[in-house]
C-alpha cells in the first residue's frame, strides 16, 4: 500500500509538472470569463432579475457570489467537462504507449495492474482537482462581482423545484458539487481510460468516448425518441446528472446511493475491461 502511494505521488508529480495540464485549467478560466461576460449583458441581467425575484425574493440578496459561481460552474462543466475529461483519461495510457514512456515503466519490477491502478487513481485525482479549481475560481469571480454573503438560489432542468439556502449552508452545498461531479463523471473517465488501455491512438480514445456519451445523451433525452423514455434508466447520461442532487433542498440520499452504485459499477467495469485488455497486450516499440 505504501508503495502504491509512493508511485501515485510520482505519477501526480509528473502529471502536474506537465505544462499541458495547465492549458486545460486556463481554458476553463477563459470559458468562465465568457459565461460571466454573457451574464452581464443587460437582457440576461434583467431576465435573471425577474426569475430570482419570482422564485426567491430580493435580487440583490439571492443573486449572490455563490449563485453566480454556480451558474459559471454549470456552464463551463456542461461545455467543457466531457471533452476535457475524456481527453485526459483517453491520453493517460495511450499517449505514454505512443510516446514510448510506457516501455521504460514496464521494464521495472511493477505489475501492469499496479501501474494501471496508479494511473487510474491519478486520473480521478486530476478530475477532482479540476472540479475544485473550477468551483473555487468561479466562487472567486462571484465574490469579486457580487461580494461575500447573501443567499444561494439554484435551479437546473433536472431539479423538481428551486433550492434556496442561506450563505453558510449554500457554501457547503456548493463545495459538495465537485465531489458529486467526480462521481458523476466516473463512467466517462473510466470508459476513456478503458479505451486508452487498448492498442489505440489517444485521440481515438477521446473521440470514441465523446461519441458514445453524445449518443447516449441524445437517445435518453431527445424528444424525437419518446419511446426511449420508458428505458431511460438503461442509459448512462441520465445517471451522470446525479451531481445535481447535491443542490436539492433536501438531498435524496436513497436515489443518490442508487446512482452511486450504478456509476461506481460502470466505472469499475470500465477499469476491469481496460486492465484485461492491457494485461493481454504485447507492448512493442
Amino acid at each position: 500500500m505504501i508503495e502504491f502511494f509512493r508511485l501515485l505521488k510520482w505519477e501526480l508529480f509528473r502529471m502536474y509538472a506537465r505544462p499541458r495540464t495547465y492549458i486545460g485549467f486556463a481554458v476553463f478560466l477563459l470559458v468562465e470569463g465568457l459565461v460571466l461576460f454573457l451574464l452581464n449583458r443587460p437582457k440576461v441581467q434583467s431576465g435573471m432579475q425577474n426569475w430570482i425575484e419570482q422564485v426567491a425574493g430580493g435580487f440583490d440578496q439571492f443573486f449572490s457570489g455563490l449563485t453566480l459561481a454556480f451558474i459559471l460552474v454549470g456552464g463551463t462543466v456542461f461545455l467543457l467537462g466531457a471533452p476535457f475529461l475524456s481527453l485526459v483519461s483517453g491520453d493517460i495510457v495511450a499517449k505514454e504507449s505512443e510516446d514510448g514512456n510506457l516501455r521504460l515503466l514496464l521494464a521495472r519490477p511493477v505489475s501492469r495492474l499496479k501501474l494501471l491502478m496508479v494511473k487510474y487513481a491519478s486520473c480521478q485525482i486530476y478530475a477532482l482537482s479540476l472540479f475544485l479549481f473550477i468551483s473555487t475560481s468561479a466562487l472567486l469571480v462571484g465574490v469579486i462581482e457580487r461580494g461575500w454573503g447573501g443567499g444561494y438560489v439554484v435551479m437546473t432542468p433536472e431539479m423538481p423545484r428551486v433550492s434556496i439556502f442561506e450563505w453558510d449552508e449554500g457554501l457547503i452545498r456548493f463545495y459538495l458539487m465537485p465531489f458529486f461531479l467526480l462521481i458523476s463523471y466516473l463512467p466517462l473517465t473510466s470508459f476513456a481510460f478503458m479505451l486508452s488501455c487498448m492498442r489505440i491512438k489517444p485521440a481515438a480514445a477521446t473521440i470514441i468516448t465523446l461519441a458514445v456519451v453524445m449518443a447516449d445523451f441524445v437517445l435518453a433525452n431527445f424528444p424525437l425518441f419518446p419511446l426511449f423514455k420508458e428505458y431511460r434508466d438503461w442509459f448512462v447520461t441520465p445517471r451522470m446528472q446525479m451531481w445535481v442532487y447535491s443542490q436539492y433542498q433536501d438531498i435524496p440520499w436513497p436515489q443518490v446511493i442508487e446512482n452511486w452504485a450504478w456509476l461506481f459499477g460502470i466505472g469499475l467495469t470500465g477499469f476491469v475491461l481496460g486492465w484485461m485488455s492491457f494485461e493481454r497486450r504485447d507492448i512493442k516499440s
Binding site: E3, R6, L7, K9, W10, F13, R14, A17, R18, P19, D99, G100, N101, R103, L104, L105, L106, A107, R108, P109, V110, S111, L115, R280, D282, I283, K284, S285
Partner: protein, 303 residues
Amino acid sequence: MLKVSHVSKHFGRKSKPAALDDLSFTVEKGEIFGLLGHNGAGKSTALGIMLGMVYPDSGEVTIGGVSVQKQREKAMRKTGAIFESPNFYDYLSGWRNLQVLTAFSGGVSKKDISEMVEWVGLEKRIHDTVRTYSHGMRQRLALAQALLPRPEMLLLDEPTDGLDPDGIVEFRKQLFALRDDFGVTILLNSHLLAEVEITCDRVVILRGGKKVYQGSCRGLVQEEDSYRFEVDQWQVLEQIVKEHHGESIQSENLVKWPREQDIATLVSELVAKGVQLRQVVKLEASLEDLYMKVRSTEGDEKS
C-alpha cells in the same frame, strides 16, 4: 544468467511467418552477448519477451533462474534495460526522470542517483529538462536509469544507434567497466556488426526470426584460415593447395588452408619447389564475413 528456451512468437495470423521461431540460447554470467540481425529479424521481439512486455506463444525466458513469464516482477528486479531512442518525460529534468522511474523499482536514495549520474558523466546537466538534451546525453541518462538500482543483467536495444564516434567509444568503455568492475551481464541487441564484434564475447545471429548462428565472435576468425599469397608461380601453389584439400583463387591471390594443417607446410613446400615467395598475409575473418556467409548459406538453403 539469461536462458532463452524454445521461444516462438507470431504476430497476427498464424499463417504469417513467425517473428521468432524456436529461439534458444544462454548468456553466461559476466558475459557481453550480442543479438545480431537485420531490421525485422526478431531482435526487438526477443528483447520484449525477455522483459515480459511481449508474450511468447511458447517457450520461456529465465533471468538469474527466475522465469520472466511466471514471475516477471521478481525477474525484473535483477534487470535493467535501455531501448532504442529512449523516450523520457522531456518536460522533466533528467534528475526527476530518474526519480520517477526508480520509484517503480522501490525507490533509490538521492546519493545512489548522484553517484550514478556522476558515473555516466551527466552531473552538469542533470537538472536541465530532458528536451534540451542531445541524443548522446539521453543515452547516458538511459544508461543511468537502467543501472538504478544496480541490476545483475542489462538488456540493451540498439544502444549506440545515432551516437557519434566519441559517444560510441565512451559507451563501449562503460559497458566493459560494467562487466569488469561490477560483474554485470550484458545482452546487446544490434545490427551494427563492427560494434558487436568489438564489444561482444559471443553472438546469436537471427534471420527471419530464426537463429542461424551461435558462437564466439573471436572463434569465427579461426574457422576460416584465409591467406593472401604473392608468388611467381601460382600454378605450383595451386597444385600443392589442392593436394592438401585447400582452395586457391588466383584472381584474389587467396588461399583457403585447412585449419588442422600448419600453413608453414605450404610455405616450405613452395620454397622446396623453387617458388619465389614475396608476401604471405593471414586474413582475419570479420563478423561481417561470417554474417554474409550465414546469409548466403540461408539463401542457398531456401533456393
